[in-house]
């Protein structure tokens, strides 16, 4: 999922003709000063940290300014802050509008119904999870019918809009649906959607694009504001890599097996750190790269748990043996290996020739990994 910061989401909204406050993104207090002085950013204005995490208002990552000097000062204060783990590098400065009401509108996927779903609530501007079910209208959108007029009418009725405001929302819903479809979005969310005068304006924008669709949207492929440097390296090599708090490195293949491995490690008191999903591969070099990447994360011990299907056991064993030879002695760590499935015998034999024993049972292997990591802490 390519998560976009507010201003990037709004760039998309702008392309689809969704009404937005005037303003722009700045990366320094000087830019904020200049932008407000030239009128590029109307005053009074709102200054918002461009981070992915929610709760910016309460968390001090949103401020207001009536003059250019105040805008510059507020910008200086927010830039560089760490907000829920993210460093603030960009701000969005926008005109402060006379808001009559705050609504909620989003389109996302309803997995169970296998259709996109439009959700609206008259209670916008708050955490929508807290809004009672009765206050939230969910409208399935059949992909073969698209967003229909009668669904829009239901949404408009639920929000209690009429006249030009209703017309404005009608247009916004069409545009939001087009953006959702044509940008291969997983989510387009406007919270709050403000009623201002005769129309509606998107005050915020949460847009995420489907990873798998970047082959037809190369413009999103490089936007990753939410990865650690090691995760970024892994992504470039096509390896799923997640950093947690613990000290046991886990290399497995497939999301389900990886999660089950973490479950079992934790059951025996282990603290999984980096985990790394090889996915399906039969390239030994990719296994080698994955292992060396793991080494860079300096785990206390590594548990390799592979069930060979597309990924054959001998491939993994070959890549692993190659990698171990490349790890400098000073950086070595205990390795517990369990390889099962396709070409199991060949894989076990290759490991044995390099002095590595492959264990058979998941339970015993997990216990061994926990013990090894504990011993080195």
């Amino acid at each position: 999922m390519v998560k976009l910061t507010e201003w990037r989401g709004k760039e998309i909204f702008r392309r689809y003709g969704i009404p937005l406050p005037r303003g722009r993104v700045v990366r320094s207090a000087e830019e904020a000063l200049a932008g407000t002085e030239t009128g590029d950013i109307p005053l009074p204005c709102v200054i918002k940290a461009q981070v992915l995490a929610g709760g910016r208002g309460k968390g001090g990552a949103v401020r207001f300014a009536s003059t250019s000097a105040e805008a510059a000062e507020a910008s200086r204060a927010i830039l560089g802050l760490e907000f829920k783990g993210e460093r603030v590098k960009e701000l969005l400065l926008e005109e402060k509008l006379p808001i009559a009401r705050e609504l909620y509108v989003a389109i996302t996927l309803d997995r169970a119904a296998r259709v996109p779903i439009l959700m609206v609530s008259a209670q916008g501007g708050v955490e929508v999870e807290t809004v009672p079910d009765a206050e939230l209208l969910r409208l399935p959108i059949h992909p073969f019918a698209g967003l229909t007029g009668f669904e829009k009418r239901r949404a408009i009725r639920a929000l209690g809009l009429a006249g030009p405001q209703a017309k404005s929302l009608d247009g916004l819903l069409d545009r939001l649906w087009r953006a959702f479809q044509h940008e291969d979005a997983e989510l387009v969310e406007v919270n709050p959607l403000a009623v201002v005068g005769d129309g509606v304006v998107a005050l915020d924008a949460k847009v995420s694009i489907e990873d798998d669709a970047t082959f037809r949207h190369p413009e999103y492929a490089d936007i990753r504001d939410d990865r650690t440097p090691l995760e970024e390296v892994a992504r470039e090599k096509g390896i799923a890599f997640v950093q947690l708090e613990g000290n046991i490195g886990v290399i497995a293949n497939g999301a389900g097996l990886t999660m089950a491995t973490l479950d079992v490690l934790q059951q025996f008191g282990g603290r999984p750190g980096v985990f790394l999903d090889l996915g399906g591969t039969d390239d030994p070099a990719k296994v080698t790269e994955a292992f060396l990447l793991m080494a860079r994360a300096k785990p206390a011990a590594v548990f390799l748990n592979i069930f060979g299907g597309v990924t054959r056991c001998d491939t993994v064993a070959r890549g692993l043996v190659d990698a171990i030879r490349q790890v400098p002695p000073a950086e070595k760590f205990p390795l517990i290996a369990r390889i099962r499935g396709n070409n199991e015998e060949e894989g076990i034999a290759i490991l044995r020739s390099a002095g590595i024993t492959s264990l058979h049972e998941l339970e015993e292997s997990a216990k061994a990994a926990v013990a090894a990591a504990g011993a080195t802490v």
């Binding site: 989003a106 999870e129 992909p143 489907e210 082959f215 499935g341 339970e363």
Partner: protein, 294 residues
């Protein structure tokens, strides 16, 4: 009767000339599947492991009577491959390809439904009935004919669990790997009635994961419609919550989607829930009233 596949299943492999297509054609043949045709545009007239290759699915179906397909074509072309299969009259399509955009899958799913076809997957290991047929990529070694039905959202974890069932001396009637993508052609709720109705299945193993609400929906279905014993496992109860993005997902889930929610729902529906994969075979034995294996 097994589920969805049997001795009359005639398998077409779309993308047979690619590396994975070829590798798994060999494996399906070894399993005993009747792989009757391959399809790769521009490669018509050649053969792969003795299997004739055609330029189009229409031709393959017309000349070989293929009635199921296994799709290996790359993600950008997978939608087209599925539509082609469905239009040519194929009624069971296993989509192995991963990374298909869900927007494409929405079209694939609803179009297949319109035409009366079933999709398993995408991003899935497929389906296998030991002794009868396999359409997909589950390793042959994990199977043994038997009376336990397996339905799983996972890939390799399925192999682990199916293999565990075999190791305690039990076997499988049919195993379906549904795939873990946001939109799947066949969900637990779609697969459960098939196993409930299958005369060769005595017990059902359901392998879920955190995320989505498919397991909660399965629990609801089990509660009302499934008489056979169900053993379930949910992977990921130790996984940390991902970074959050917007609220829409949370609204749909409304507190469901966590391991706790899924386990509670399944237990309330009368399923036995294993805490770890290696507990599953024992629970199956227990529910079938069979003694532990020697």
């Amino acid at each position: 009767m097994s589920v969805l596949v049997d001795g009359d299943t005639r398998v077409l492999v779309q993308g047979i000339t690619g590396h994975q297509g070829t590798v798994h054609t060999v494996q399906m043949l070894k399993f005993g599947s009747k792989v009757v045709a391959g399809a790769t545009p521009g490669k018509g007239g050649s053969t792969v492991e003795g299997v004739p290759v055609f330029d189009s699915v229409e031709e393959a179906v017309g000349k070989t009577g293929a009635n199921a397909t296994c799709i290996f074509v790359p993600a950008p072309f997978a939608k087209d491959a599925l539509l082609e299969a469905v239009d040519a009259g194929i009624r069971l399509a296993v989509v192995v390809t991963e990374h298909i955009p869900f927007h494409d899958m929405l079209t694939m799913y609803h179009y297949a439904r319109l035409k009366g076809a079933r999709i398993i997957g995408p991003n899935c290991p497929g389906i296998a009935a030991p002794g009868k047929a396999k359409v997909g990529i589950i390793p042959n070694v994990v199977f043994r004919p038997g009376r336990v039905g397996v339905i799983s959202r996972s890939g390799t974890l399925t192999y682990e669990i199916v293999s565990g069932i075999k190791e305690v001396g039990l076997g499988q009637s049919t195993c379906i790997g549904l795939g873990g993508d946001p939109v799947v052609g066949t969900s637990f709720v779609d697969a459960l009635p098939l196993f409930e109705a299958d005369a060769e299945t005595d017990a059902i193993v359901l392998v879920g994961e955190i995320g989505g609400t498919a397991e909660e929906e399965a629990a609801e279905y089990i509660h009302h419609h499934v008489e056979k014993p169900v053993v379930a496992y949910i992977a990921g109860h130790s996984a940390p919550p991902g970074k959050r993005m917007g609220h829409a997902g949370a609204i749909i889930a409304r507190g469901r989607g966590t391991a706790e929610s899924k386990v509670a729902a399944l237990e309330a529906a009368g399923a036995k829930v294993a805490r770890f994969p290696y507990e599953i075979p024992g629970l199956v034995r227990e529910m079938l009233g069979k003694p532990a294996s020697p």
